[in-house]
């Protein structure tokens, strides 16, 4: 799209935002956000509902476009159609076809990423095992429980083995046992070198991330490791730190 070199730079960050702003009408959702997320990091976006987390994620993936600022993914300027192949996306909604079976859903989205034949079948079996749905693949998705739908949705995002995983509230509405198993899976993927960006408003989940971005009212109020954030604000929990940063940010504005 621009005159930037077409070679994916191995050293370029997984995602790099520079001076991003997004307005919906007269309402400013995101304001001057700059951030770089290195490869292989498990990055958490933490903020209350309505703070702009989902909008920020949509800008990173190129589904939405910023009014100001630039977005680059793996060194490539966004949005670009071919870059949609590079990441896996899981939205807040499960976004599954209820009339289809789990397997049919996986096969459909696999085909969207150009997977076919034996490779597709092998990948389906792999991700199904990963999210523990192997026995339920032939069931219609409408008969799935909420947790099973969420897991299938995650499986869809993992299907094409993306270098970058973008997950919007992956554990919302999921029981504690399943939540733990999903986070275990995310940590394992992260160790294999997959970059993961995950939004959450659950504070104890935030502590499991390598690095955190606190977002509030469309502004990025702090970016650091969970430990660093607690130290900076002199608090003992992420929750306290978040409140402390929020107040400081409010005073500045």
């Amino acid at each position: 799209m621009h005159s930037l070199p077409n070679i994916p730079l191995a050293s370029a960050p997984a995602v790099e935002l520079k001076g991003i702003s997004r307005h919906f009408g007269s309402h400013t959702v995101l304001q001057n956000i700059s951030i770089a997320i290195p490869r292989g990091q498990l990055f958490g976006l933490l903020g209350p509902s309505g703070s702009g987390k989902t909008t920020l994620i949509k800008l990173m993936t190129g589904i939405d476009r910023a009014d100001e600022g630039t977005v680059a993914m793996l060194g490539e300027p966004m949005p670009q159609l071919k870059m949609l192949q590079a990441f896996g996306y899981m939205a807040q909604a499960d976004a599954l076809y209820a009339e289809l079976t789990g397997k049919q859903n996986l096969a459909f989205f696999g085909a969207m990423f150009g997977l076919k034949g034996t490779i597709l079948q092998a990948r389906i079996q792999r991700v199904a095992k990963l999210v523990d749905l192997t026995d339920h693949l032939n069931k219609q998705t409408s008969a799935y429980s909420g947790g099973m739908k969420r897991r299938l949705s995650l499986a869809v995002a993992l299907l094409h083995e993306p270098q970058l995983l973008v997950l919007d509230e992956p554990t919302v509405g999921i029981d504690p046992v399943l939540r733990q198993s999903i986070w275990k899976e995310l940590s394992a993927l992260s160790k294999q070198g997959v970059t993961i960006i995950v939004t959450t408003h659950v504070m104890d989940e935030a502590e499991k991330c390598d690095r955190l971005g606190l977002i509030r009212g469309g502004k990025l109020i702090a970016v650091d490791t969970p430990k660093g954030i607690m130290e900076q604000s002199g608090s003992t929990t992420i929750e306290e730190a978040f409140i402390a940063f929020g107040q400081a940010g409010g005073e500045e504005a």
Binding site: G62, R65, P79, L81, Q85, A91, A95, Y97, A98, F113
Partner: protein, 339 residues
């Protein structure tokens, strides 16, 4: 108290939804206006060609508002009747009056017969004419005439609804967003929908064609293959229009709201009603309605037994409409992903 709170909530919801509100008040007005335009226009004046008819009788017919054209020989009159310029030919054959009706539209047949009955009663001639038909016959019921139109209408209507709602589902369930997060092109989505639904519309078109001819016994002078082609093209137009308009609806209910705006006006202009009584420039509205072309071809094939050369223009126009709607749909998807 609960009832009051509920009522206030509903009122608030209605006021927020300006479109539903507009539909509630404006759509009935639109439909009523259309009905008035169709039923309450100028008087119909049948176009009658005459051969060897005494001037006194022609004068009588003109007094009764017939649009009379005098032909020198019967062949010229015949070709005018064939091309649809005339509704009937009255000629004297060995001093015996003979009437040939175009016959496609039973209501026009009746208008011609009534007019001539009056003209003859006024004493111009004592013998009643013998009657023949170019298309159809005296036993062709009104349904035979508007049946072809109804076939087209219902294919169009149901495909429109189905396509509109299912494309909307894609959006509301979040699957469209997920779909657009894959490297699929916008044009591929539209084409995929066309292909997927195309199969069902093909089955539907065949089923309707078979049912109306073999089961309902509709008057059928032409080829069932042609009829299938037209029906399929009409369905494709409905499919592309339905998916396009679903981009502008946010719920199934809002899809239903398109019916009085998009479907009903087409029914009025499709040939179900004789538009000769309507203001001529309003008649031109039919030119922007896909159903008009489909119904016209369908009537031509089923009643007048027309071949490819007679209805090919309608085929091209329907293909044009489908392409236009499909391209607009690709553009409308830009709203969700700008690449």
């Amino acid at each position: 108290m609960r009832i009051k709170a509920l009522a206030i909530r509903i009122i608030h919801q209605f006021i927020k939804d300006k479109r539903t509100l507009a539909l509630l008040f404006l759509a009935p007005l639109l439909v009523l206006s259309l009905m008035k335009l169709v039923f309450d226009g100028q008087a119909v004046s049948p176009a009658i060609g005459t051969v060897d008819i005494p001037p006194t009788l022609i004068e009588k017919m003109e007094q009764l508002h017939a649009d009379v054209t005098v032909f020198a020989n019967a062949n010229d009159a015949q070709s005018a009747l064939g091309s649809g310029d005339l509704d009937a030919i009255l000629q004297l054959d060995a001093s015996q009056p003979k009437l040939m009706l175009e016959g496609s539209d039973p209501s026009l047949n009746r208008a011609v017969l009534l007019l001539l009955q009056n003209a003859f009663q006024n004493g111009a001639a004592s013998t009643a004419p013998t009657i023949t038909y170019l298309h159809g016959g005296p036993d062709m019921a009104a349904f035979d005439s508007f049946g072809p139109v109804l076939i087209g209408f219902f294919s169009f209507f149901f495909v429109f609804l189905l396509a509109g709602v299912s494309f909307l589902r894609e959006r509301t369930s979040g699957t469209l967003e997920r779909l657009l997060a894959t490297p699929i092109r916008r044009s591929e989505i539209v084409a995929g929908y066309l292909a997927g639904f195309g199969i069902f519309t093909l089955v539907q078109a065949s089923l309707i064609a078979w049912f109306s001819v073999d089961v309902l016994g509709l008057y059928m002078a032409g080829s069932i293959g042609y009829m299938l082609i037209i029906n399929l093209l009409l369905s494709l137009t409905a499919l592309t229009l339905g998916t396009l308009l679903s981009s502008f609806a946010s719920s199934e209910f809002q899809i239903i709201q398109f019916i009085p705006l998009v479907i009903v006006p087409q029914a009025f202009f499709s040939g179900l009603f004789n538009l000769d009584a309507m203001n001529p420039w309003l008649q031109k509205l039919s030119l922007i309605m896909p159903l008009y072309y489909g119904a016209d071809a369908m009537q031509g094939i089923m009643i007048r037994g027309e071949g490819w050369l007679d209805f090919q223009k309608n085929v091209y126009v329907l293909i044009g409409f489908s392409l236009l709607f499909a391209i607009l749909n690709v553009l409308a998807l830009k709203k969700h992903r700008r690449m």
